[in-house]
Amino acid sequence: MDPLRILDVDGRLLGPSPLPPEEIRRLFAVLLTVRAYDHKASALQRQGRLATYAQFEGQEAAQVGSAAALRPDDWMVATYRDAAAMWMQGYPWDNLLLGRMGDERGGAPPAGVNVLPPSITVGAHMIHAVGLGWAEQMRGTDRIAITYFGDGATSEGDFHEAMNFAGVYRTPTVFVCQNNGWAISMSRDRQTASETIAQKGIAYGIPGTLVDGNDLLAVFAATRDAVARARRGEGATLIEALTQRMGPHTTADDAGRYREERSLEDWRRRDPLDRVRRHLQASGSWSEDWEHEVVTAAAAEIEAAVGRAEDLAPFGAGAAFDRMFARPTAVLEAQRAELLGEGKAGS
């Protein structure tokens, strides 16, 4: 299988563009914005203002290209590394940051945003997207569900069960695997003896597509087709986006222990932003000023979100008891009272 590629590393179209020029320009601005966020979040982590953070540098096209193919009301179920995709689907920076600051309100995007909080455990969340899409099918809407996961996640049993259910019930689910080469220190070739991840679809009667994950247009085209198929009621698709995580696994990881720095050189040449910039440059629709403007505006927006998130007063001591059920049970109320010193055990 050769991966689908539309934009080569020099920014040249290898075939008809799936997107009009203005839209490519808009998505380049998005790429710049999400990279600005990624850098900002890493910086905040270094300053101790965020807990562990999982960078997505290198994977921007895979996330932005795929999310660009969605309708605003579609469901999204993604991971700790998918802030770019989530943001595109309406999940505010504020929430993403709050989550990383260790505040449960990070998991609560505004009403109408159908994006679940990022999955921290690996593997379990894909079947949730199957269930969400299935429910929409039952209710007769044409809403679909997209789920993001890594190469490592494909080893979990839950990947298998999710794909199998999606195949059997032809649920409107788009499975996007960002194969970034690594699951922490485990390289892709030792994660599974399957030649590609895309071919795993065969085991479920689900078409698998291999795309250059650093090619915004290829990722968009593949996802657009998968979304259209799902919306038409024809079932799920598995997309493998070949990419590379340029940073460590998280800010707590030392990638030097398992990855040679020079193995990244080739990937740097394939940077997902550079090739879109070259493409825009070639058609004269890019300028340094414009890029600067976009980045500055994004930085300001993100900065404002950081401010809001940091200013949000933490929950009170007893708040956890309120988050368990629609109404706290008597057991929880008694424990809250104990915590707050109002109750006396053994009385």
């Binding site: 449960e104 309100r105 455990t121 839950d158 999710a162 629609a326 057991v331």
Partner: protein
């Protein structure tokens, strides 16, 4: 009111829920065509269609995970796991996701689903088919755990579980399914979750039981009555949250408690009952709270299973010990 056994009462409850609420769907292994291994879902697929009563592949994690997704999207799924012992492959979905989404999203997303599972032994079934590990789910935050002991309670609690805005694990005592009949109210009939019931008043000792052990607690109370010992029997009904007030009120009154559970002893439901009673009623206790439970062993197979499940004799003997006889 009709006389029904528990399997019938549960079937009735499911039919009511499916008829009353479009959002209710059922899914599980063999729930449709065959009506489930215990026939609890008998006739429901025929009546409500294969898109409301869904036969699934053999994949418990998938069943729970898909139901969870459906619930978030606004459905009211009722998932069936064929036996409690087969819920373990779906354990991560239950503990890590079903019980957490409300907390994780600060109420923005919720998962109002019910996971039904037959539980307990006593029918000489194969390994894994006689589990009574409800304590592990009672220990899990974010999930309610319900275990009825009689047909009417089964119906009222199942309908309440389906209407509850939060996830409920609903445990059905296998050997009670067809063992007892009683009058069950028709139509929509609800019993509150989290509320235990004094099913037999008494003055000398409190027997705390649930599920299939409720019947044996009652038999023990009968046996004791002929000897002039008045036992109060409490049906816990909900194992999480436990109705501590009902237990403690009774303990204060009788001064003696026997906590009965078919589950393993260590860190089990009976341990929790004992911990609560000594915590809140120590100075009323005339004897230690006795635990009559399954042992900390694998449930033995048919030939020796009877030594594992608490018998009426063991309950009576425990009562006698607390009475100092």
């Amino acid at each position: 009111m009709t006389e029904m056994n528990m399997a019938h009462a549960l079937n009735d409850a499911l039919a009511v829920a499916l008829a009353d609420d479009d959002r209710v769907v059922m899914l599980g292994e063999d729930v449709g065509l065959t009506g489930g291994v215990f026939r609890v879902t008998d006739g429901l697929q025929e009546r409500f269609g294969a898109s409301r009563v869904i036969d699934t592949p053999v994949a418990e994690s998938g069943i729970v995970g898909a139901a969870f997704g459906m619930a978030i999207a606004g459905m009211r799924p009722v998932a069936e796991i064929q036996f409690l012992g087969f819920s373990y492959p779906g354990y991560d979905q239950i503990v890590s996701h079903v019980g957490r989404i409300r907390n994780r999203s600060n109420h923005r997303f919720t998962a109002p689903l019910v996971i039904r599972m037959p539980f307990g032994g006593g029918i000489g079934a194969a390994e894994h088919h006689s589990e009574s590990s409800e304590a592990i789910y009672a220990h899990t935050p974010g999930i309610k755990v319900v275990a009825p002991g009689t047909p009417a309670a089964a119906k009222g609690l199942l309908l309440a579980a389906i209407e509850d805005p939060d996830p409920v694990i609903f445990l059905e005592p296998i050997r009670v399914y067809r063992a007892i009949k009683e009058d069950v109210p028709a139509g929509r009939y609800l019993l509150p979750l989290g509320v235990a019931e004094v099913v037999r008043p008494g003055t000398d000792v409190t027997l705390v039981a649930y599920g299939a052990m409720l019947r044996d607690a009652g038999r023990a109370a009968e046996a004791l009555a002929t000897d002039g010992v008045s036992a109060e029997v409490i049906d816990l009904r909900t194992l999480s949250p436990l109705d501590a007030d009902t237990i403690v009120t009774s303990a204060v009154k009788t001064g003696r408690v026997v906590a009965i559970s078919e589950g393993h002893r260590t860190a089990g439901i009976a341990s929790e009952v004992a911990a609560i009673v000594q915590e809140r009623a120590l100075y009323s206790l005339l004897a230690p709270v006795a635990r009559v439970t399954g042992w900390d062993t694998i449930v033995p197979l048919k030939r020796t299973e009877r030594h594992h499940i608490p018998s009426v004799d063991r309950i009576v003997a425990a009562v006698r010990r607390t009475l100092g006889d």
